[in-house]
Amino acid sequence: MLSIFLEPLLKIALLIGGLMTAAAYLVLLERWIAAWVQDRLGPNRVGIPLTKIRLFGLGQPLADGVKFLTKAEFTPSHVDTVLFFVAPLVIFVGAVAVFAVIPFGSVIPAGVFPASWGIHEPIRLVAAPGVDVGMIYVFAVSSIAVYGVVLGGWASNNKYSFLGGLRSGAQLISYELPLGLSIVGVVLTAGSLRLDVIISHQAQTGMWNAFNQPLGFVVFCVAAFAEAARLPFDLPEAEQELIGGYHTEYSGIKLLMYMVAEFLHMVAAALLIVVLFLGGWHFWGLTGSGNLIDWPVAVLRVIVLLVKVMGVILFFMLARWSWPRFRYDQLMDLGWKVMIPWGLVNLVVVAIWMEYGDHLARLLGLSTERSMAAAGWATMLLVWLVTVAVDPTRGNNRPRRPWPTGNKPGGERPDSAVPGARTLSS
């Protein structure tokens, strides 16, 4: 009886402890990378407290945590007190709850434990194993995070915060759809919404979904950047435009909760990219593919997963310094006019391949997986070229020279038509 509760409780403790530590050290990593990219050294002074040992600055997260906890927590007089308090909780709980169904490894074989413990089945490394609606749960819960942002922006009673919240709402709507569309292809190939089944499907075929459905992978990555509100899509908190965005008015531990939640979103996005598209714990020739494994393989699978996640997180952090932020309308243009059509095309191609893949593979003379990958890459190339040719993000809602008299029908007035007007054409 006790072990029924003990197992999930241990997993939850492990997960939350690990996540909090990871978030703290990811802040340090982010600061390091920010510094290195800007030709600086970054935090390298704080080591073991009360000694002179520096440890390359690895004590920085602890110092940051103490600073945040002991800082004055100021609540401005003009805020909506209840919502101001609830908003960081909402985003934090939403960010943590996502991890309930995301596997952080494969299984621990039952043989590892002494027989007297009465464990006869391998323990699956998911906080909530066997949730059949895994993917739906992930997207439902991660969408809750936007409430934290919108409520925080609203409750702060501050124009900048409000604009941040508003932008976040628009951004979420623009990117939920491509995010959902891009995973439908993955769910179709695996035939299940469970994340562990999706991984083991990739492990069994040996063909990661990123190779099979490159278009879906690109759409998912872009949408995941937007979901995690990372640059180049960090509009809700664009510092240069909105001071701090939705958390302008926050301080102390509430601000800490927002920041940790942001980093957890990034971890969740990286984990999902790895689990859905990069084969989860699978690596050719290293980890095997079945569920009947020995403990070294079990450890190896966790390590492979973590290394992959770390790689994706590094990419997230480097991407931050590589591209300028998208403008508000450019972001939505990209979401609605590029990513959603791409997601739809990906879905259609995958669906066709699921139905007629065997016939088409025989026609091409390749194995089913390889022909599917070939089709995926060909589709991506084609769609990309079409997008370049059509240039759908070029909008026409720009300020335009008006017709001098009367209400002539739309279109831009030719420059020569306005006497004396100057035009700089590029």
Partner: protein, 173 residues
């Protein structure tokens, strides 16, 4: 501003070429720059342990000093030119009749508020006898505001400390 104002200059948005529209080349370009800097040489100077290299201490504008002449007296003749030139009004001189025969006045007190000073070097330029100079000593700190108001003795002691490393720029004595 009306949109049909003829003084308005209309700027056409430049259209991206195929490379720009595909995002792919810009993606590679941006990432390459990032990676180059990520592994590139760092410019940080680890301050208390390492020191900034000052290329030419003689033209650096750090803390002031009051120079002494060959007999060890303060060179200043209390002409007030530096106090007049100072844009931050941080120099305060009280002049008195000189005890020495070679000049009429000398500064009975000479104080510089280092917190108000903007280290522009105008005092140094204005001085007709090269009595006030700026040294290359830059990391100046104090525990109170009063401590940061340097009097004549302190400014002369700055000279005593820096005279070997940074000789006086001109000698007219």
């Amino acid at each position: 501003m009306k949109p049909n104002d003829k003084h308005v200059t209309w700027v056409k948005t430049p259209r991206l070429g195929p490379a720009g529209r595909s995002y792919l080349l810009l993606f590679v370009q941006g990432m390459t720059t990032t990676l180059r800097h990520l592994f590139g040489r760092k410019k940080t100077v680890q301050s208390p342990e390492e020191r900034h290299e000052i290329p030419d201490p003689l033209i650096y504008r750090g803390v002031h000093r009051l120079n002494r002449d060959a007999q060890g007296r303060v060179k200043c003749v209390a002409c007030f030119l530096c106090a007049t030139a100072c844009p931050a009004h941080c120099i305060d001189i009280v002049a008195a009749e000189s005890p020495w025969p070679d000049r009429q006045k000398y500064p009975q007190s000479f104080t510089i508020d280092e917190l108000r000073c903007i280290f522009c070097g105008m005092c140094e330029e204005a001085c007709p006898v090269d009595a006030i100079e700026l040294t290359s000593f830059y990391d100046l700190s104090g525990k109170s505001r009063e401590e940061m108001i340097f009097d004549k003795e302190k400014l002369l002691s700055v000279y005593d400390q820096t005279k070997d490393a940074e000789p006086m720029r001109t000698r007219r004595d």
